[in-house]
Symmetry: C2
Subunit: 287 residues, 2 copies
């Protein structure tokens, strides 16, 4: 038996992982053990503090149910989710940057023609979002699909709000022969992430607000290209520099131009060729 | 707004903690963010792997209830709990080492005289555990209390087993004028930690067993001294080198000597003076 000390305990804990058959699980557990122990040795928690951490995680778990995922919310608000996104979807010349999916996507939204509105109740300020979908060299992609969803003017997605028609403000659009699309919707608003649970309580204790800047979600996909999960953010939103879930990127800022006919946003999407997605597993930053 | 990149995202996530009023919480969250991000950047999880982690933590949370604390079990089995114990209770010359409390302590055990058995059902092989409680210089401490508890011969604590009398194998003993004590009990056995939940599933996936080597729990306390929470481990147990919760320390090995009258263990406890407990908060390893 190895005599216990803070110094040799890490070696002992790592030795216990030697029996792990799955090499990836072994790699993950070894890294987790090293980084967790380094955290503990840096902050040197009292036993009461450790127990508060245990109780916090327990409360997060108890808040999760079929429609609420408090651990994802926690991962989002501490900035881990956007880091995972960045690792898995590297920025590439001519390609639209990705950002977090969020918990409100629904499959099988209604199909709309370009120029048709995905608002089913006509509430809110109308906006046309239009542009082209291209490859990274700027060549138009015909037949690309844009899966679009957003909150209503009251800050709620239709699944959170019995007052909205089913699939309100969700739509599938397809690019025409020159790669052009035109989504018609309403101007999005900023809204708070669900903050009635332990993650929201932590946000308040950290002196942070729960708001996301106004945005429209997109998944843009085309045969032979890597799909991109992204959002367009209203560039002059009050929360543009402090998104509660760290989703904003400069290249995803959208400017709303207003005139007598309503709001207009011009935005072109670029897609990477398919098959470049697993670069992160090589472990090299230069790839 | 700072442009997102893996490199500057850490700085941005740390900047969001600047509004934290409680300096200790700020320190803990900053360290957590740095170490968590370093873990993520090392293992580069796919989005599917991250989701498996989220689901695992959710299942751990859902397993917790009034009588089961799966996050404590998880903390124990990855070796974090014993590290916290080591940080908060430094080894000192002449003083008994501490180890994990475990989830089965109960207050208000029956008081017994030295030499009286704490077994209420007479089952198992009788053992006398005897010795002295002293200060770190070896001077006897009269009137010290020993709060003792353990499993029965079937590997179950009485709270887990409707077949045992209430408070079976739990007792409070007091040292006499020369600091001597004598606990009479039954020989403890090795037993598995509760392994029907996600922590147990992880243990199996890691190729590890759920067993703890046989042990007797003690909390030794006296006026003017720091109480010690500890366990005496049966030195020749099959699991002595692979305790599922990393609780074993060389100085806590107990040898069972057998003769015609039964088993006997000789063990002396040493206590540190009170008031030295918060050394770890100075942050210096040399204190």
């Amino acid at each position: 038996m190895t005599e216990f000390s803070e110094e040799n305990h890490l070696a002992e804990a790592l030795r216990r992982l030697d029996s792990t058959a799955d090499p990836r699980l072994k790699q993950v557990m070894e890294a987790l053990t090293r980084h967790l122990f380094a955290f503990v040795q840096e902050v040197r928690p009292t036993e009461a503090e450790w127990m508060r951490g245990i109780e916090f995680l327990t409360n997060v778990g108890h808040k999760c149910d079929g429609t609420r995922q408090e651990f994802i919310l926690l991962s989002d608000m501490i900035g881990a989710s956007i880091l995972i996104d960045g690792i898995n979807h590297r920025k590439a010349e001519g390609a639209t940057e990705s950002t977090v999916l969020g918990p409100f996507h629904r499959a099988d939204a209604p199909r709309y023609d370009n120029g048709q509105s995905m608002s089913q109740d006509g509430k809110g300020e109308e906006v046309r979002i239009l542009g082209r979908v291209t490859d990274s060299q700027g060549n138009p992609i015909a037949g690309a699909t844009l899966d679009v969803w957003q909150t209503a003017a009251n800050g709620l997605y239709e699944v959170q709000d019995a007052g909205q028609p089913d699939f309100n403000l969700r739509g599938l659009y397809t690019t025409d022969d020159i790669g052009a699309y035109e989504v018609v919707t309403v101007k999005p608003v900023s809204y708070p992430v669900p903050d009635d649970g332990p993650a929201g309580q932590l946000l308040r204790t950290l002196g942070r607000h729960p708001y996301r800047p106004a945005h429209v979600h997109f998944i843009v996909a085309a045969e032979g290209f890597e799909s991109v999960v992204t959002q367009l953010f209203t560039d002059n939103d009050d929360y543009i520099d402090s998104d509660a879930v760290f989703g904003v990127k400069d290249s995803l800022l959208a400017h709303y131009n207003g005139d007598a006919t309503g709001w207009r946003v011009d935005y072109d999407f670029g897609l990477k060729p398919a098959g470049g997605g697993e670069q992160h597993r090589t472990g090299s930053k230069s790839t």
